[in-house]
């Protein structure tokens, strides 16, 4: 085994000579510590300019993409910049790039509240973009109502905590009537009350006072925050003309057994980019039509 050391020292000497020849090239990669021609230098968009060669960055992405949520930091010491997927796309193999996109997309969807449309013929992934608590929601795809909280078709006239009770078709019809007539059911006894005029403070015949707007106990002067309208975005029915490239959500939808679908039919780009800081992500997918399923 002692020979090994000798041999490697010889190689070292030989390599040292070789290195000195190369010394006049343009930069030294901080990962492989090799002198490099500037043509081999990786450029991270306009984000940062740490000296790494393209091969090392490609290797780094390949190793790191497994462990991150999609945000890969520049390996430069004390550099907080993220690698720009678009700048890296041409130096990494396509499967790695697709995996990276998947990771970015996962983290994007996990960041916001989401639910699958409970109507079986639809089952698209729906995102809640308004960060309020949301109950009654209309699926932007099948246009049917469902409860975002219970994740079941809309339980008209009934509250979430009652929604799981078995009800026959008459109960459902009554529920729909209650909703249509804008009656409110007392939180205590469940009796429906129609408000013809006057304030929202209802004294029920069971003795409690309840708010006609929400059906809960009466509350003076406080806001009805539950009345805030939600904004929903949806996965499928790709609209090429919407101007926004669909996102690639293969991992999530694979779990749901639906294959690859697109979501965000018509996102508010300002909100989305601000919220998720994924400006480049849109570009990535735009440039990657293989992700799109019609």
């Amino acid at each position: 085994m002692g020979n090994t050391m000798q041999k490697s020292q010889e190689t070292k000497v030989a390599e040292l000579g070789q290195l000195q020849q190369e010394e006049d090239s343009n930069f030294s990669c901080e990962i492989c510590i090799e002198p490099m021609l500037s043509i081999r230098k990786f450029k991270n968009g306009s984000l940062c300019k740490h000296p790494f060669c393209k091969d090392c960055i490609a290797k780094y992405i390949e190793v790191t993409v497994e462990e991150t949520t999609g945000c890969i930091e520049c390996p430069g010491l004390n550099c907080r910049q993220l690698l720009d997927p678009l700048s890296c796309r041409h130096i990494i193999p396509k499967p790695i790039f697709e995996k990276w996109c998947d990771r970015l997309c996962d983290s994007a969807v996990l960041g916001s509240e989401s639910c699958y449309c409970p109507h079986r013929d639809c089952s698209v992934l729906v995102l809640n973009e308004c960060r309020d608590k949301l109950k009654k929601a209309k699926c932007p795809n099948c246009k049917k109502n469902f409860c975002f909280l219970c994740k079941i078709p809309w339980h008209a006239g009934y509250r979430c905590n009652e929604s799981r009770h078995l009800r026959d078709s008459n109960d459902i019809l009554v529920g729909e009537l209650i909703e249509e007539k804008k009656w409110t059911r007392c939180y205590n006894c469940g009796h429906s009350v129609e408000r013809v005029s006057g304030c929202r403070d209802i004294k029920c015949k069971c003795g409690v006072q309840f708010c006609h707007q929400c059906g809960g106990p009466f509350h003076f002067g406080s806001f009805h925050s539950h009345q805030v309208k939600g904004r929903l975005t949806v996965a499928p029915s790709r609209k090429v003309d919407s101007g926004y490239p669909p996102l690639h959500v293969s991992v999530l939808t694979r779990e749901a057994g639906a294959g690859i679908i697109n979501f965000i039919k018509d996102p508010d780009p300002a909100w989305f980019t601000k919220q998720l800081n994924l400006i480049s992500f849109f570009k990535v997918n735009e440039a990657f039509p293989s992700c799109i399923v019609t």
């Binding site: 090994t4 050391m5 490697s8 290195l19 990962i31 492989c32 090799e34 390996p75 010491l77």
Partner: protein, 161 residues
């Protein structure tokens, strides 16, 4: 053979470690395995880990082992103290709690920078992020006494022999 196909980066780093060693640090590869380094770090001055002067500097020499895994430099080197040391971020097996050896590793770091960081950790123990709960507790409740114990251990174990 462990040494065949040794990446050029490791060869270059080794050369530089041998030709321009960092102050207070020596690292040399094992003859059998060029990925395995025997390391010695001098306890920094003004720290409980420094040696004592009796005409010469005596003690305060900490032995470590450093191993470069197959994935290096994409994965961090594995470093461990072989010398017993009383430090809140080093456990009794010699394992070191240092971010750059874990999640903050970057392939732009090198053996030299890792060893310098470990040396710096000796100067600045961080009992708020402990590996040895008992030592950290000692450090927080009675720092003077903990420092005395660290000095005692340095005298007892870090002779460099």
């Amino acid at each position: 053979m462990a040494n065949s196909n040794l990446p050029r980066r490791i060869i270059k780093e080794t050369q530089r470690l041998l030709s321009e060693p960092a102050p207070g640090i020596s690292a040399s590869p094992s003859e059998d395995n060029m990925r395995y380094f025997n390391v010695m770090i001098l306890g920094p001055t003004q720290s409980p880990y420094e040696g004592t002067f009796v005409q010469l500097l005596i003690g305060g020499v900490f032995k470590l082992e450093l191993f470069l895994p197959e994935e290096y430099p994409m994965a961090a080197p594995k470093v461990r103290f072989l010398t017993k040391i009383y430090h809140p971020n080093i456990d009794k097996l010699g394992r070191i709690c240092l971010d750059i050896l874990k999640d903050k590793w970057s392939p732009a770091l090198q053996i030299r920078t890792v060893l310098l960081s470990i040396q710096a950790l000796l100067s600045a123990p961080n009992p708020d992020d402990p590996l040895s709960e008992n030592i950290a507790k000692h450090w927080k409740t009675n720092e003077a006494e903990a420092v005395e114990t660290a000095k005692e251990w340095t005298r007892l174990y870090a002779s460099g022999a």
